[in-house]
Amino acid sequence: MKRLLLLTTDPIDEPALVAARQMGAGMGAAISFSGVVRGSEAGAPISAIAYEAFGAMAEHQFHQLFDQLAARWPTVESLRLVHRLGVVKVNEASLWVEVVAPHRGEAFAACQWLIDEMKRVVPIWKKPVPNEPVGRAVSPPARDEF
């Protein structure tokens, strides 16, 4: 199984990722998921979410999940996952996952399983960045806001 894993503070360029997709002649389905920061968290408006990762462990846990996915769905040809770190503004993507397989059944199942497992074991945490009240000067969040 081909795999791409990227943990990055850069914005996720989903059109470029889609344009770079390569599929073998036996592949009939590509599922992609884009997880985007919503404008509120627990009912309160926010301007962004700050993502923090324990990087080495996150990569290790992602690769363990990729190994498990390859064993459970051996027909999956390609798996690509990009998780953004640092401050991700409302309406920007924090996560992009793509699964390529011969048929949509295993592509949907593998993609959903991977996201569920990621949220269980990959050490990434988020902290909402509150909306600044209108008219108040906006200062960058202090370090301990991350």
């Binding site: 990762a53 949220k119 990434i124």
Partner: protein
Amino acid sequence: MRVTVHLWSYFRDLAGTARLEIELPVGSSIAQLLDAVYRVQPKLAGLRKSTLIAVGVDYQRADYPLQPGDEVSLFPPVQGG
């Protein structure tokens, strides 16, 4: 033996530090390490039930036997995506 403890996310904020060095008797388990951590960082003790524990980059359980020089990470439930 000496074990390094790394704190992540709001555990670090609560403790006011990202790193602790803990002296333990040789052969101590993770459970014994947690007891020692909570003596110096009592604010973390109330979160014990929801604490995730890794040694290096792998999750471990409370009965895991620690070795000198182990790097232990303590953190709250993960929230990626």
